[in-house]
């Protein structure tokens, strides 16, 4: 789990939303894929498609690349093409504002921040803990890497698991 690469992804997403891009790509890795899917689950991004160096063709109806595109399909990973795979993320905008506001790392490559359920409960209620600030704004999320995959902080509290705090989305 490289937090260096994840930090680069966060910065890249911030830059892409500021540039008002509709589609952007990040390096392919399991961590990036799971985080992207978590973001998609929360509604911050519209689509996550694994593709090659060029953007995958848009879905005929949706207008952006979709993972469940029956016409085009998704190229399966082989030993030859695995190095060139990238994740193509569809970015969302609403009322002239980017839906994905700002992605900020909580753990740093030099300092990993873990949190247990008790502290996470307080964070979710909006209270600050020692290393993790509370979730105090509407539409704010915190993503953790746990035993059960990458989850949002509220899901972690529901499932009573703690973990490594990855990033905060505002």
């Amino acid at each position: 789990m490289s937090l260096v690469n994840l930090s680069a992804v966060c910065s890249h997403l911030n830059n892409a939303t500021k540039a008002r891009l509709a589609l952007t790509s990040i390096p392919n890795s399991n961590l990036h894929l799971k985080l992207s899917l978590a973001l998609q689950n929360s509604g911050y991004i519209s689509s996550v498609v694994r593709g090659g160096p060029t953007p995958p063709p848009a879905h005929p109806i949706l207008g952006y690349p979709a993972a469940n595109d029956e016409v085009e399909g998704i190229e399966s990973i082989t030993r030859d093409n695995v190095a060139s795979r990238r994740l193509w993320l569809g970015l969302k905008y609403w009322e002239n504002e980017s839906v994905l506001g700002k992605v900020k790392m909580v753990s740093k490559p030099t300092r990993r921040v873990s949190i247990d359920v008790e502290a996470l409960r307080r964070v979710v209620r909006g209270e600050d803990t020692e290393f993790v600030g509370g979730i105090r704004s509407p539409g704010e999320s915190l993503y953790l890497s746990t035993d059960r995959g990458i989850l949002e902080a509220r899901e972690c509290v529901e499932k009573k698991v703690g973990g490594l705090v990855l990033c905060r989305v505002l």
Partner: protein, 403 residues
């Protein structure tokens, strides 16, 4: 062994009598008085017989009393005897021993200014325009006394007149029943030291209305155009909360020299969700103030408020080197913010907020950054639309929308 008790000589405990329990707990850290009276008596079967000391008078005693008192007094005594049950006397007439009892004997029939509730001298009694009478006034009074004197006047008439003679002109009550220093004038509800009493305020308002109607004829062009642009009436504009927060002078360096002008930054709000800021420069300070206030009124915009008391989420604002953070707070928290933001919150109708102003605290930029921060709030409904998810305000759900 109890740890809190000091160690004592073991033999001492034999020689000493049993420690009497303190009747009143020494440390009362709570306002509730110790309930000593509610304790059960040690021997519940032993009671002082009621009415022991309060037997009705016998016939012999009454005969003795009749020698001392008149018939009317005896009738009163008999009536009192008949009216009050001796049992009630025994039950109720005793010295109080509870913790709330008074430490002194008093029948509480007289109002003590320092102890009891304040008794105001009626406001109508005071007359601030009173004057002492001079010699001519006294001579006039004496002349009137001579003129109205009956034919069979005695010395007593003169004494009575001299006793009732007033030494001041003005309200009679002011001299005869003046407000006393021992019975100070405490404020009535809605009355402050600066403002006149409620009744006087009314007359002031009436006077003000007349003045305003005179002013309305000479309404300035700026005000006219403001009313035209905003659609407010003059009354509504007057009711808005405007405040000039920043005032300084600015200089333009020309080849003719420095040209100084007055700069004013004002805010305006209706105290219920509308807030605007306006800035103006003018040669005249008063003109700049009016201009900035009118611009603030024109610029008024609705600020999103959560439960009409605080903001949605924590927001940040940055203007120049001034960066600040506004944080939402629970009900009853109050406005723990610096004075400039406080005034903005008052004008805009925000009641619970805290703020942190980092880096520069330039007043002008602080106001602008706070306004920017207030306007940058994200509406949860819009966020729900954007995310495509259902967002629910848990407070509203739990309290059935009654919050």
């Amino acid at each position: 062994m109890n740890v809190t008790r000091p160690a004592r000589c073991l033999l001492c405990s034999f020689s000493r009598a049993a420690t009497p329990g303190t009747r009143v707990p020494r440390r009362q850290f709570h306002p509730t008085p110790a309930s000593l009276t509610n304790r059960k008596p040690k021997f519940p079967n032993v009671k002082s017989s009621p009415g022991e000391n309060f037997k009705p008078y016998t016939e012999e005693q009454k005969a003795e009393l009749a020698k001392q008192y008149t018939e009317a007094q005896m009738a009163a005594i008999n009536a009192g005897e008949a009216a009050i049950d001796p049992k009630d006397l025994a039950d109720q007439l005793h010295e109080r021993s509870d913790p709330m009892s008074f430490k002194y004997l008093d029948d509480f029939s007289v109002i003590e200014p320092g102890i009891d509730h304040h008794q105001r001298a009626p406001l109508s009694n005071s007359d601030f325009k009173f004057q002492f009478k001079n010699n001519d006034d006294f001579a006039e009074d004496f002349g009137r006394f001579i003129a109205e004197m009956p034919d069979d006047a005695t010395g007593a008439d003169f004494v009575r007149w001299a006793d009732n003679l007033r030494v001041t002109k003005g309200k009679e009550e002011n001299e005869l029943n003046a407000p006393s220093a021992l019975v100070p004038d405490f404020f009535g509800p809605g009355e402050t030291i600066d403002e006149p009493s409620v009744s006087e305020q009314k007359t002031a308002a009436e006077l003000g209305v007349k003045e305003r109607s005179a002013e309305a004829e000479e309404m300035t062009d700026a005000l006219k155009s403001l009313l035209l642009a905003t659609g407010y009436t003059e009354r509504q504009v007057k009711d808005l909360r405007t405040k000039t927060l920043v005032m300084h002078s600015v200089t333009n360096q020309t080849r003719l020299g420095k040209v100084r002008r007055a700069y004013r930054l004002s805010i305006a709000g209706n105290g219920n969700g509308l807030l605007g800021i306006g800035e103006a420069k003018s040669d005249e300070a008063a003109d700049a103030k009016i201009q900035s206030q009118y611009r603030a009124i024109r610029n008024m915009q609705p600020i999103p408020r959560y439960e009409n008391r605080t903001i949605y989420g924590d927001v940040k604002g940055k203007v120049g080197a001034t960066s600040l953070q506004l944080m939402h707070r629970p009900p009853g928290f109050g406005l723990r913010v610096q004075h400039l933001i406080y005034e903005m919150c008052r004008a805009g109708g925000i009641h619970d907020l805290s703020a942190r102003t980092g880096r520069s605290r330039n007043p002008m930029n602080t106001v602008k950054a706070a306004y920017e921060a207030l306007m940058s709030q994200r509406n949860p409904d819009q966020i729900a639309h954007a995310l495509g998810r259902k967002l629910v305000d848990v407070r509203k759900v739990y309290y059935a929308g009654k919050v």
